[in-house]
Amino acid sequence: MADVIAVPQVRPVQPALQFLRVIPGILLLAAVGYAGKLLEQNVGAYAKAHHWVFPNIEYVLWAILLGLLISNTVGVPEIFRSGVATYEFWLKAGIVLLGSRFLLGDILKLGGISLGLVAIEITGAIAFMTLLGRLFHLKPKLTTLLAVGSAVCGVSAIIATKGAIDADDEDSSFSIAAILALGALALFTFPLIGHVLHLSDRAYGLWAGLAVDNTAEATAAGALYSDAASKLAVLVKSTRNAMIGFVVLAYAIYWASQGQAKAVGNKAAFLWQKFPRFVLGFLFISVLATYHFFTKDQVGALANLSRWAFLLTFAGVGLRTNFREMRKQGLRPFAVGAIGEVVIAVFTLGLVVGAEKLFGF
């Protein structure tokens, strides 16, 4: 009898169909984001007209709050989900376009400082999270995922590492849930702490970029403080993102040496595969802006386009955060993540304050 080989059915997804599937969710992102923008403009004016004391809440926070409200009350219906998931796409496109507002000299100066701080942050965060994972008796691969998620760049790093070290789906779900829940908390606590400590825009931007794990949350946490802080938070976070390949490679080699993951063949190809392309796109646009490829008006148009892309991102951050789902993932990984995040936040705050005094930026 001939062997029967089960060939998985490859169902080619029609690009047109795929495009149609994301439309409702993108419209929802746009509607929530735009509602946030309208609320920013109108609530403040209404409160002023009626002599109410009401804090000026920016569109960033309104968009996130509206998204959170929908996600945690009526929920996001299935028809919108694939479109809502495109918020990562808008985030990365927005970061590339934001490159037009950076001159290469600024990137080299701030990038140099942030690269040093990022290296210290990554080393410290990985060491501390590993220690914490051992203390709480978490599975070693779960500890690795939490360490990478909090040291480098949240969900993307966890997904990249999961594949490289053959971690369980359950472990990666735990880590992603913990990192997302803590990212949501950081959105509300970081700006508050920044204002209480009277941090400068630069110091706060550096801190948010260093300590907030997910790129979307780091961008939002920066934008909640000020425009200047947002720019710097994106730059520092992108520097952290650029490190993803090196950290994942190191873990892949470690787990392969333990016989618990596939060996890495071509290391250069591995690094290139994991390198975030949007960082290159961001640098390329900033090179073009530095050499006056765009006029002043065009840079303004690119910056506004970047803001629109971020508006959709912030709406997506709220819409994809469901606290009930996160609670289901269990307390221990969350506790490890929470303790780790608090320590990393305090550690990076010390680093930033020290660097500000040392370099006087």
């Binding site: 080619p12 496109a93 392309r277 949007f278 796109g281 490829f293 148009a301 629109w308």
Partner: protein, 43 residues
């Protein structure tokens, strides 16, 4: 190589990461602004 494998390989060649699509979309938008198709983007 079987027909199925061929089909899979051909399909895979065209799959770009979300990252790359985002960069392509941003570059196209920047180019359209540069050549003057979009002169002003309001906020």
């Amino acid at each position: 190589m079987s027909a199925t494998e061929n089909a899979v390989t051909t399909t895979k060649k065209w799959i770009l990461s979300l990252d790359t699509w985002a960069v392509v979309a941003a570059f196209v938008a920047a180019l359209l602004i540069r050549v003057g198709v979009f002169k002003h983007v309001p906020w």
